[in-house]
Subunit: 407 residues, 2 copies
């Protein structure tokens, strides 16, 4: 591991100084190489699937590759090649009285380590985003997908070489034990940024154990608050969309807060609209419509399923304090026709994305105009919300003088 | 502690939504209150000094307050009151095809915890910067300065109340044990940002133990590389300034790298110019001028004193790799008349501030136009270099729609 990290670090200055054209060429070669090595990747994937016979169907589906999925990985890399170069942007510039020119310029982090779980396509996706942003990647996938990831990384490395670049720009941790992940989390001086991509357990492990800079991503207990002055039709359509359009993703709504003034009128309509969804109701909501009583944990659970916890609250103030106590700071929405109430909510709810009269499902790199995302940050340091290529850069001050000394 | 943190968290929405005028008024009241309670502060400071009789003279000097120092704290707060409001700036804005208006808006972190050492003025300084940036502060000073900090915080809290604000916007940890600091470092969900202000030991303890987002600040092993094409007079003046103008600060130079092509001519002139400075020489340098031989640790030490480690290197490439291996990523400089060599250095040296033909002493919040600083970040996440009010803010996406749902 030490050797791998030293190699990775050694390659950071190459990665950081690649031209846009070099990166584009390399990304296209990586995509081509994935297609070229499709059979090998699929055959290694079958071995992974055989070995992982004891895992559940959902996990198996995440792990399974197909011709279509390999093609879609390659297409993903080609899309990244089209995104603008995030490196070398002058973010601010000022000339001091003494004539120093101080420029704040975007630069890559250096070595970006990504720990992920069973989906092997994350390897391709992450390696492409890191390269495009001028970083050296160190990938550590779940042990179930080891052979698949290995084949994918091998193909991408070959692509790099064909494009005339060192294959050390992309690295994969061979150590399949927990210890391998732990070493990455504590590789101070080698890993400049650690991003966990996966479930709540992985993220917690990284936050608790990492001594390298780490960005918490992902889990979303997203709330929608339907205010007394909401347009009911709009509210129903937004709640339905946020809950049911794709319940397995982090920006899906998990909790509905309804203003007590309108609960009697709104909840029966909600129940009719969300007929396929299991509602878990607070006591007040349960006195208005039928449904399962909400248990203690139901307001702190990311269901990722056709389940919605429903709570009646006394107005926007209680909605805000419920969200402060239970949210994962991902995305929350207020539905109201009253601009003042909306502004009150928007300025006090402390989440990465806060919506007025729109679905939480929009929190996404594509929708936000990044064209891609390496994850959705739910913490506040460096980046919040969808992280694209720009967020995989930091900055450096470059100061040009002609002999200035400090008085 | 738990109660203190809960109180702090409760006050974040008040702090975040204060108007600029309210903050200015409060800051001026805090400054006035420090002056008003000067006698009390000085008397508590005397008690601290009596109790800390066993500490060294340097520490004592840091701990000691005087009428002048109290006045200077108050002036510092008044200067902060004049800085522009960092909260609520629209950093980016875009309208999507579906009509959503997505704004990226600067917002405070929430609770900012600062762990510092013996200088009690850090309490005033930090509390002012946190309030001005819309954050609630939690201060934890060294045990030597406990009474002084307490008196300072009490005076500032009284100022807050006079300005009509809750005194819970500024908080001080009463627990003087190591455990108090440790609890802050692990207060996930309560502390949004932890900033250690102090020596290398404190910073290492925070980086190793913190599970809350933490920004590494401070230590600076800054390098100056004198290239073969340097103007010698300029180089001598910059090295002298960076080493001797104020050797105890983090942006002072600690290591000089000299191109082997010019070492024979340059080093004798250096020795003559830096006559009061102890030079610790690599073997090659030692064969040209007299001086102490550099020991194993001399190229990895922040001397903060009239000591300079000197190494002869074979050109810019070796200079860059020496810096990569030994720098703390604070500030480095190249002195050369060759623009190409300078650009090569500037694009490859991975430090917060990289200089061409200027002294490293300019890395400073005031010089960089921030008007203040809470510390100088030597890591890459969120902020690099001098951190001012803007860097004490994060951002939030505010999305306004009229019923948009995701297709």
């Amino acid at each position: 591991m030490r050797e791998l990290l030293e190699q990775a670090k050694k390659h950071t200055s190459v990665a950081a100084t690649l031209s846009y054209e070099e990166k584009q060429k390399a990304l296209l070669a990586m995509a081509d190489s994935l297609i070229l090595h499709q059979d090998e990747i699929l055959s290694e994937n079958r071995k992974d699937l055989e070995e992982a016979s004891e895992i559940g169907d959902v996990m198996k589906d995440r792990l399974r590759l197909s011709e279509e999925r390999v093609l879609s990985m390659a297409e993903g890399i080609r899309r990244v090649a089209k995104l603008p170069n995030p490196v070398g942007r002058v973010l601010e510039e000022r000339q001091t009285e003494t004539g120093l020119l101080i420029s704040k310029v975007s630069v890559p982090f250096g070595v970006v380590a990504v720990i992920f779980e069973s989906r092997p396509n994350v390897a391709a996706d992450t390696a492409a985003l890191c390269l495009a942003s001028g970083n050296v990647s160190v990938l550590r996938g779940g042990k179930e997908s080891f052979r698949s990831c290995h084949a994918i990384v091998r193909a991408m490395k070959e692509g790099l070489k064909k494009a005339g670049l060192p294959d050390g720009l992309i690295n994969m941790v061979e150590d399949r034990s927990r210890d391998g992940a732990m070493q990455l989390m504590r590789a101070n001086g080698y890993v400049d940024l650690l991003i966990p991509r996966g479930g709540a357990g992985l993220i917690r492990a990284c936050v608790e154990n990492a001594t390298v800079p780490c960005i918490e991503t992902g889990t979303g207990i997203c709330h929608i608050y339907v205010d007394r002055e909401a347009d009911f039709d709009m509210a129903l359509s937004i709640v339905e969309n946020a809950k049911t359009q794709r319940p397995s993703v982090c920006n899906a709504a998990e909790v509905l807060l309804v203003d007590s003034c309108i609960a009697k009128d709104f909840l029966p309509r909600l129940k009719a609209r969300l007929y396929g969804v299991e509602l878990r109701l607070c006591e007040k909501a349960g006195s208005i419509i039928d449904g399962k009583a909400a248990g203690e944990l139901d307001f702190d659970t990311e269901f990722l399923d056709y389940i919605l916890a429903v709570k009646v609250v006394d107005g926007v103030e209680e909605a805000i304090s419920h969200i402060a106590a239970h949210s994962t700071h991902h995305s929350e929405a207020i539905i109201t026709q009253n601009e003042e109430t909306a502004d009150y909510f928007l300025s006090r709810v402390d989440s990465a994305a806060v919506y007025h009269n729109a679905s939480t499902r929009f929190t996404d790199g594509g929708e936000f105009g990044n064209g891609c995302e390496i994850g959705i940050s739910t913490q506040k340091l460096h980046a919040r919300g969808p992280m694209g290529l720009s967020e995989l850069n930091t900055y450096r001050y470059i100061i040009k003088g002609n002999g200035q000394i400090r008085q």
